[in-house]
Symmetry: C2
Subunit: 204 residues, 2 copies
């Protein structure tokens, strides 16, 4: 559904172009959701007509870029160990994926105007489940608060990650400290009322 062909085998040449286009689309749409196809084609080092030779519409380009981002995200996050202490697991998740999640969110803005709601749900099913089970486990173990819904906590995690990326873009935060800031903030936000918030980096 991403590319144009049905059964014909593509030439190595064409595959290279397609890959460049999808990659450029991910970058351009990640920066600005209303990037034009001309802009994407130019960033891919390819003619605009060539883009239309492989994708029937703008929606197909967005879909391909979004799918690729989700795939790469899943791939990267599969390498993260989410077992053991939920606090440490969450810290590992944040460390591995905070800038990844941000780009996915920027792409999402483009996808939400170009793709159907069902398609977006499908693309999000996998990644969302991973964090949800981690949060659920943390709640079951008494480490994360239960007075707020799982959906809200997951939303907070993603929101803080995203905002950190924007703070960096605005020059108010350095990339080195981003993960620390996110972790410190989210772990505190997840702490059950009455319990002390965990120390994240330097312990006394």
């Amino acid at each position: 559904m991403g590319s144009k062909n049905s059964t014909a085998a593509k030439r190595a040449d064409a595959l290279r172009s397609i890959d460049a286009i999808v990659q450029a689309a991910g970058e351009c749409l990640g920066r600005s959701p209303e990037a034009s196809l001309s802009e994407i084609a130019r960033a891919a080092g390819v003619g605009r007509v060539t883009l239309y030779a492989h994708f029937n519409s703008r929606a197909e380009v967005v879909d391909a870029a979004m799918s690729r981002a989700v795939d790469r995200g899943n791939e990267a996050l599969d390498a993260v160990d989410l077992t053991g202490d939920p606090l440490l697991a969450l810290a590992r998740y944040i460390e591995a994926g905070w800038q990844l999640v941000n780009q996915a969110r920027a792409l999402l803005a483009a996808a939400q105007r170009e793709l159907s709601a069902g398609r977006i749900r499908d693309l999000h099913a996998g990644p969302a489940a991973r964090v949800e089970t981690l949060v659920a486990r943390g709640r079951a173990e008494g480490v994360f608060r239960t007075d707020l819904s799982i959906a809200w906590l997951v939303n907070i995690l993603h929101t803080v990650m995203h905002s950190a990326a924007e703070e960096i873009r605005a020059g108010r935060l350095t990339p080195n400290h981003a993960a620390d800031h996110i972790t410190a903030t989210v772990l505190a936000a997840f702490t059950p009322p009455g319990k002390p918030v965990p120390q994240t980096s330097g312990e006394a």
Copy 2:
């Protein structure tokens, strides 16, 4: 700088139109930053040409809508008591302004593409200072954490407010519980490491 005239006194008729346009612009741009002037004029119950009779460009409309939103925000927030216990003060601030801040942020997206960076800084100077001093006072009193910068904490506050509004739009949160969720989350995130997170609503 907002409207078109210089010295001529406007008719009551015209003032009514201008007000309707600015109000409609606030609503339309609050929903979608790329709302067209045709759309805004229609929402204002006014002809498109009439809009151009009062505003020279799209930027002027955006500026007027943004200025109005900031003014109304300042007005509403001036009524909030930010003295006393910083925790309670922050809770009052959230209660009063969370949906307000969200609309301002949605407008901000439109403003950032149409207005100069300097103009945006000017518009934000007032509102930002208010929260910053509150956060600074909370830190000085040992209630808020000092291991994260003031700018980051303020950013977290606004980000969580904004995300709550989006959760409501997505149907995952009811407006009644929004302020509670935001307060519970932000107060926990602001708590210094090692200290217990405060109970917000029901105490055991």
